[in-house]
Amino acid sequence: MTRQHTIVFALAVTAMLVATSSLAAELKIGDTAPNWSGIPGVDGKKHSLSDYQKAKLVVLVFTCNHCPVARDYEERLIALQKEYKSKGVQVIAVAVNDLDEDRLPAMRGRAAGKELGDWRTNKEPFNFPYVYDESQKIGRDYSATATPHVFVLDGKQKIAYMGSVDDNQNVKKVKERFLSDALDALLAGKQPPKAKTKEFGCTIKWKEEKK
C-alpha cells in the first residue's frame, strides 16, 4: 500500500470504529458524572440523577436480569444498601440491555424478589430503584461495558470510584470488598484505596447498528 493509501485506510477504519462503537470516551476518576433524567423504573415512576442530590454518595450499578454474575451480586447490593442507607449512600440499579428477558416487565419480577432462578438464595426485594433506559444512552454516556459495572458519584457529581463490587463472583471467595472500602473512605473524606478496579461479568447487549 502506498503511504497515502495507508493514511486513507487508517482514517476509514477509525471512522468505522467510531461509528460502530458509539461509546463515549471512557470516564476517569474525577470527571463530572454524565447527567441522566426521566428513566422509568420498576416502580412505575421516572427517575433522574437530580432526584438523589441529597445523597452523600450515589452508587450507580449497571446490571441486568439474565447475567449469572449480575444475579450473584444482587444480595450483596441489597445488603450494601441496608448497611449504608443511614450514612447517606443511595444505590441505583440501571439496566440497558436490548434483550427481552432484561426489559422492564421482567425487571419488575426480579426486583420484587420473584422468578429468581438459581442465582439467589434469599427472596428479598430490591431496596433501591431499578430503572431501564431503552435508548441505552446512559450506558453509552458512562461507557459501561459489563454487568455488573459500578460507578460511585460523590456529592459534587464527580466520579469517585469505578469498577467492581468486589473481587469474586463466588461470595465465599471474596477477599477485597472494593466498593465498600471505597464508600468507607469517601464517607471519611478520603480517597478510595483503589479508585478504579477491573469490571467483570457479561457484556452489555447493545442495540445493533443498522447495516
Binding site: S21, T145, S164, K173, K198, T203
Partner: protein
C-alpha cells in the same frame, strides 16, 4: 533380567510407534473426535500460562477466554473448535481458558468442553470468576475475549471484551492473516 532387557528393547520402539500413531504427525484430514471423548482441563495461573504460550512458539496461538456463566462465550465456542479442526495442520494452536470457579464449577466447565469436543489444551483460571483472573490474564472488560499471538509469541490482536462481542468473521480473517505470515 535378560527378559527385562529384551522387553525394554522392544518396548521403546513400540512406544514410539504407538506415540506416533496416537499423537499423529500431520495427517491430511484429522478424524472428527467423538463429542463424548473426554477432554483435558487443568487449573492454571499466569506463570503457567506464559509457559503454555512459549511451548507453542512457531505456531499462531488462539486463546479463547470463556465461562459457563457467559452465554455468548458458549455460543462462540463451537466456532473456536472448528478453527482448531480446520487449521491445526496449518500451525494454529488453540487454547481455552475458563473463568469458572475452579472448585464449584469445574465439573460444569469440563462437561461443556467434552460436549464441544474441545480436543486442545483447556485450562481453568486458579482465580475463578473475579478481578484477579481479569488482571492475571490481562483482559480488558467482560467475556468473551479472544487473543491471537503470532508465531514469534507476540500478542497481535484481542477481540471482544470492551469492544463488544467477538465477530467470528473478523476472527477468521485475523487468524488467516497471522497464519500467512512467515
Amino acid at each position: 533380567m535378560f527378559a527385562d532387557a529384551l522387553c525394554l528393547r522392544a518396548a521403546v520402539p513400540t512406544a514410539v510407534v504407538i506415540a506416533l500413531l496416537v499423537g499423529g504427525c500431520s495427517r491430511p484430514s484429522s478424524p472428527q473426535p467423538s463429542s463424548t471423548e473426554p477432554v483435558k482441563l487443568e487449573v492454571i495461573d499466569e506463570a503457567a500460562f506464559t509457559k503454555v504460550l512459549e511451548g507453542h512458539r512457531g505456531k499462531v496461538v488462539l486463546v479463547d477466554f470463556w465461562a459457563t456463566w457467559c452465554k455468548p462465550c458458549m455460543e462462540l465456542f463451537p466456532h473456536t473448535v472448528q478453527l482448531h479442526r480446520r487449521l491445526a495442520d496449518r500451525g494454529l494452536a488453540v487454547v481455552s481458558v475458563s473463568f469458572d470457579d475452579p472448585d464449584e464449577d469445574r465439573a460444569a466447565a469440563f462437561e461443556f468442553l467434552t460436549r464441544q469436543g474441545a480436543a486442545f489444551q483447556n485450562f481453568i483460571s486458579a482465580y475463578g470468576a473475579g478481578t484477579r483472573s481479569v488482571e492475571a490474564f490481562k483482559l480488558e472488560g467482560p467475556l468473551p475475549q479472544v487473543k491471537l499471538y503470532d508465531r514469534l509469541g507476540k500478542l497481535r490482536k484481542t477481540l471482544g471484551g470492551k469492544s463488544g462481542e467477538v465477530d467470528p468473521q473478523e476472527l477468521d480473517r485475523a487468524v488467516e492473516e497471522l497464519l500467512g505470515e512467515t
